[in-house]
């Protein structure tokens, strides 16, 4: 069938990378590029002492990607500090989420990763103050349609994305890790209670290891878009391997999943990490973890988690991706909100949002002019 088998093998068992043929490398590099995993492959080869075994052309490409990723890490760290500085001045604590958290906490999963947006979590009650101070320091809300505003503020777990007018960085401010309308209901307070402080900073936190792993699973399996599915699944695997050193980790992970109402999500993450990426997560250590409807989800997710590359698609892939898109929204919104939302996004949204996008570009240009740029 469709195949990112060599790429998955290279990630899961990098000792094999030295045995890849030129044909293997041609397809693996292209799939890795599509999946955002080129630099990750570099570090996998480095960690397994396989770099010198690779053809020179392959080393060149992996090395180029790794260099960009390393530079990007420094930028992310700087941005987190800049955002923290702004919020600390108004006394609002913040939890760094996802990729930026991997960088700030110095986790193995940050190596070779390129992160798009910065994601943070703040107390729900502080959102108004946070938005005000972000607006004053150059973070502009991009899409200001009434519909998008309502979508985010009434239904979702984050406010509309903001982009820094000068630097172009995108910031997502969350107040929970799942939408208000979602069928799963993790309590934000539970996340705050377990969050770990980042040393050297006042009121800057990352999620506890169990929560970080569960958030990674939730982001992947409760979202509708799988553009970076394989990369996110690989994050789950890498985080799990690093945290598994703690005694009884898998046991406490399962208990935490129960507390946060994320057991099924964890079950999917473990199943596909083990099957696709040979994560070797001990399912026996988490009894009762049984993902539902695998007869349906296996063929859908085995397609959805492939790199977005022609070599890893088949005739059923578009249907699988569409199904996942609808499912992702279904899990985030009740039916009476979901149907009109999907209709709107398919039709009116395109016309409204283009007009607003143009208006926003003009506002951004004005802001830059004000700053003398």
């Amino acid at each position: 069938m469709i195949n990112a088998a060599r790429l998955c093998l290279g990630l899961a068992n990098p000792m094999q990378l030295g045995h890849f043929s030129e044909a293997d490398w041609d397809i693996t590099l292209r799939q890795a590029r599509a999946a955002g995993l080129l630099a990750t492959l570099y570090y996998a080869a480095l960690g397994a002492s396989q770099l010198d075994q690779l053809p020179e052309r392959v080393r060149a490409q992996l090395g180029a990607a790794r260099h960009v990723a390393d530079r990007h890490k420094g930028v992310i760290r700087w941005e987190v500090e800049a955002i923290h500085h702004v919020l600390d001045r108004i006394g609002v604590p913040m939890i760094v989420l996802k990729g930026a958290a991997y960088v700030v906490a110095g986790l193995e999963a940050s190596q070779g990763r390129i992160f798009g947006d910065i994601d943070i979590l703040v107390p729900h009650g502080a959102l108004t103050d946070v938005e005000r101070v972000l607006g004053r320091t150059g973070w502009v809300q991009e899409d200001r349609s009434t519909y998008n505003d309502r979508y985010y503020r009434q239904w979702m777990h984050e406010i509309p994305a903001r982009r820094h007018a000068q630097r172009g960085t995108v910031l997502d401010v969350h107040h929970n890790i799942l939408p208000l309308t979602a069928r799963n209901k993790p309590r934000a307070q539970a996340l705050w209670d377990a969050a770990l402080p980042v040393s050297g900073f006042n009121d800057l936190y990352v999620l506890a290891p169990e929560d970080m792993l569960l958030h990674s699973a939730a982001h992947l399996f409760l979202n509708g878009e799988f553009e970076h599915g394989l990369r996110d699944l690989n994050d789950f695997r890498r985080l799990g391997w690093q945290f598994a050193d703690a005694p009884q980790f898998w046991h406490s992970l399962k208990k935490r999943a129960e507390t946060l109402d994320l057991v099924q999500t964890l079950a999917y993450a473990v199943r596909y990490a083990n099957r696709l990426l040979d994560a070797r997560i001990p399912e026996a250590g988490m009894p009762g973890l049984s993902p539902p409807e695998t007869w349906l989800m296996d063929p859908i997710l085995s397609r959805g988690l492939q790199p977005n590359h022609a070599s890893a698609r088949d005739l059923w892939t578009p249907a699988a991706l569409f199904g996942l898109y609808v499912r992702g929204h279904y899990l985030r919104m009740p039916l009476h909100l979901l149907v009109p939302h999907l209709l709107y996004k398919g039709t009116l949204a395109k016309f409204n949002e283009q007009a607003l996008h143009d208006a926003n570009q003009e506002k951004l240009a004005q802001f830059r002019a004000f700053l003398g740029k």
């Binding site: 030129e22 044909a23 041609d26 292209r30 052309r57 060149a60 490409q61 090395g63 260099h67 420094g74």
Partner: protein, 317 residues
């Protein structure tokens, strides 16, 4: 095997189906296109470059230039460039399909080849004298490069200079030289036998034509070279050709602005630019007559030895 050894029908067939494997400088390409003018462009301008069998499995860049898959195409024929399924650039009119390929290949190198520091500059060489010509658009860089190349200089690059981050050496990428507007008749006048494409006129910026790279430059494309001079050319309407020393600090600043992937490389980009400035002499070069400009460069190359440089002014630091 060279591309010109492929029979035209076979070139067109391979291009339209599985694609042609082609090597340009350090990069291998798999080029696919159903547009006949792309086959013609490759045959005319890439004839000396290496091709391999269709079974060659590894290529650095898998690219394609094809009509877009939309009904609009019937009204306004276009050519799109895709890099392994992504379309990073806006389509061009179908008559500029070869230009689309050239722009696309520039994009691939600029966004993927970060194992080099990539400068928007030309590089030429004669008698071991290696001159890097960074310049803003409209400064006459490509005209000067074409003039030098037609006068026996080796072409290492016209648009994209690849600097090895570890060694500081320049790796050649002697692809066709892109000439615009008044440069085209100037080069014809300098050498009527120069192989130029007919200028394409349906561009927004004025006519564009390509000049075929010399056979010898392509033959030597795998020989790296160490830069000796950094020359900032500027064409003026009138005046004698003049070479003036330029401060290294100023040159460094300009260089970093011409380094396409400077921000991606960060501190490493700074280090490589510093190394380049340290090993080169920096000059401003102003000229109005192309043949006079070529003569100045020829004199410099003739007087250059490995240990001394025969020019009036001391190095400016």
């Amino acid at each position: 095997m060279k591309l010109l050894q492929l029979p035209p029908a076979e070139l067109r067939r391979q291009l339209a189906t599985c694609g042609v494997w082609l090597r340009t400088g350090p990069f291998s390409l798999r080029v696919q296109s159903r547009i006949p003018s792309v086959a013609e462009g490759l045959a005319k301008f890439y004839g000396q470059f290496e091709v391999r069998s269709v079974h060659e499995v590894f290529a650095d860049f898998h690219v394609a230039v094809n009509p877009p898959a939309s009904l609009r195409h019937c009204l306004r024929p276009q050519a799109t460039f895709s890099f392994d399924g992504i379309q990073p650039l806006k389509p061009l009119p179908r008559g500029q399909a070869f230009t689309m390929l050239e722009q696309g290949l520039n994009w691939c190198v600029s966004t993927q080849a970060h194992h080099y520091l990539i400068l928007n500059a030309a590089v030429v060489e004669k008698n071991g004298f290696v001159a890097v010509l960074p310049a803003l658009p409209g400064s006459g860089k490509s005209t000067l490069t074409a003039g030098l190349v037609l006068s026996g200089w080796r072409l290492l690059a016209d648009e994209l200079t690849l600097i090895d981050r570890k060694t500081g050496a320049i790796h050649a990428l002697p692809r066709p030289i892109c000439l615009e507007n008044e440069s085209i008749p100037l080069i014809h006048a300098l050498n009527p036998d120069a192989f130029l494409s007919p200028p394409s006129r349906d561009t927004t910026e004025g006519p564009i034509a390509y000049m075929r790279p010399p056979k010898e430059s392509v033959r030597r494309q795998h020989e790296p070279a160490h830069p000796g001079w950094l020359v900032f050319p500027k064409w003026v309407a009138e005046g004698e050709a003049e070479l003036r020393p330029r401060s290294k600090q100023q040159s460094f600043q300009f260089l970093t602005q011409q380094a396409i992937n400077y921000s991606q490389l960060g501190a490493e980009g700074f280090r490589v630019c510093t190394g380049l400035i340290e090993q080169t002499d920096c000059y401003d070069f102003q000229y109005s007559q192309l043949d006079e400009a070529v003569a100045v460069f020829d004199r410099l190359a003739a007087s250059t030895t490995t240990s001394t440089l025969d020019h009036e002014d001391a190095r400016a630091c």
